[in-house]
């Protein structure tokens, strides 16, 4: 049953499909859009269609960008012999923020997850294999999430890449820097203890 006039209900329905937006929020946003000046609403609409028209996936690493190659892949200063494998383009943003990584990326587009119907064929694994030789990749850093599916994906890639002679590494897991030990959750702290390192003395 729709309570609102057609176009409003349509907007509420569309907004309600977005992640993290429930029916109440959808309604609030719809009425907000109804009230703002027309230019503002059009700007939003243009931004939405712009992102679909102008943004595409990088041919090499499947990051998002505006050209055939993304900003990272087209940057000649980046070291193409080290590839950081992530699940999602948003993970690239996270790694980029560290300013510690100067190699290139490869976006898998998810992690192994049979429940969701995701196997190696649904991930960009073949594309990764195809990059190793032409780009002279010496090291693959597996930067998938530290959860069950991410770990399984990491293991899968390691088994796959290992025999090809590429060095495969996995990011470490541990405690947040600058935090207090007492606030660390027991699992993270437990893993940090297991992965402890000898100190230089």
């Amino acid at each position: 049953m729709s309570v609102f006039a057609g176009p409003i209900q349509e907007l509420v329905d569309e907004l309600g499909r977005l992640p993290g937006i429930g029916p109440k929020s959808a309604q609030r946003i719809a009425f907000h859009i109804l009230e703002v000046p027309k230019e503002e609403a059009v700007r939003l609409a243009t931004a939405i269609s712009g992102v679909k028209d102008r943004i595409r996936l990088c041919e090499r690493c499947f990051n998002v960008g505006e050209a055939a190659l993304c900003a990272v892949c087209s940057d000649s200063r980046r070291d193409s012999s080290i590839v950081c494998v992530v699940e999602d383009p948003r993970d690239i943003v996270a790694v980029e923020r560290t300013r510690e990584f100067h190699g290139t990326y490869h976006v898998l587009g998810g992690a192994l997850n049979p429940i969701e119907g995701v196997g190696p064929d649904q991930l960009r694994v073949r594309d990764l294999l195809g990059r190793l030789e032409p780009e002279g990749v010496a090291e693959v850093i597996i930067c998938t999430n530290p959860n069950l599916e991410g770990e399984a994906t990491a293991m899968y890639l390691a088994r796959l890449l290992g025999p090809l002679g590429t060095k495969v590494t996995r990011i470490a897991s541990g405690l947040p820097v600058g935090g207090d030990l007492e606030y660390a959750d027991e699992l993270t702290l437990g893993r940090a203890l297991v992965g402890r390192r000898q100190m230089a003395t």
Binding site: L112, P114, G119, P120, D121, L148, M155, L187
Partner: protein, 363 residues
Amino acid sequence: MAPPVITSILSLELESFRNLDSVVLRPSSNGLTVIKGDNGVGKTSLLEAVVYCSTLRSFRGVAKEAVISNGKAQASLHCVLLHGSRTVDVSVDITLSRRDRVQRNGQRVDNGRDLLEVLQTTLFTPDDLELAKGSPSLRRGLLDDVIAAASPRLGAELASLDRILRQRNALLRQLGGRLRTDDMATLNIWDERLAETGEIISTARANLLEALVPLARRAFAALAPGAGTLELFYLPSYKGSLAAALKESRDDDLRRQLTTVGPQRDDVGISAGGLDARSRLSQGRQRCVALALRLASHEYLTAATGVQPVLLLDDAFSELDEKTARSLVNELPTGQALLTTAGSLPPGSEPDLVFSLVDGVIS
């Protein structure tokens, strides 16, 4: 070893909780408090409220709405407890539409763990008879609950195991009985994860069971003196390493599209005086087995965590003869225990406090 921290409930106020309109319970802070009352007066609801204050869930496995009195919008619980020497004030508002509003010492808490930290319970219900009688999943569940309560790390492994199995079974269903070379690598990964996590869980369960045996044996001997020695033994669903067992059962698993070996298929064997508990013990004796298992886990957790949970015994005398009921009262560990009963107390037992629950009033 330092004596355990004793947790006890000083007072529990319930409002619009199940059929209890407004009730205050002030149990004895140490020792046994008995709550007597006819069927349907809300004795179990009192215990349910205690568990809700600890886990924010009903132990009856129903949606939280079910605990709110008919026609009311909200149920409220207010529990003052003593945790060691600290007084902790827990209040929970359960509403129909929103999340529970939970406060600890007046501070809002979002995480159920904040409550478990101050209030843990061991619960015995009449359904526990199924521990002796019912399907293996209940016996595994008992062990897993104790394991998770004693070690957060193993608790996380248990959650992983569950997820790994669901992933592996989903993959087996997708394969539809055939294994192409490409899929082999993926199945290998899940097998590897399952073997690793599964061994951890099987070992943890077998170790726990070994620790429970002397405790359960003593409790059972006190409850059922003529029934012979209680034996508990872990029955794995595979021999040797799980990795090898998975390899061996792979064809079978592919055909049945299900993981047929692993800790999810293990069981606990129980016998008393050489008789299998499930098939050959009387129902009364089966109850004694279930009680002994609960009391043993209670004692084990107290020692393992250094915190003594509150012991809750719902209708624990049902199907027990007078002598056994009396032994149960005498066998209770130190610390606080709440026991409900519809009948009378066994003669010769001396609880610290006895309340009657009549028409929603405790006296």
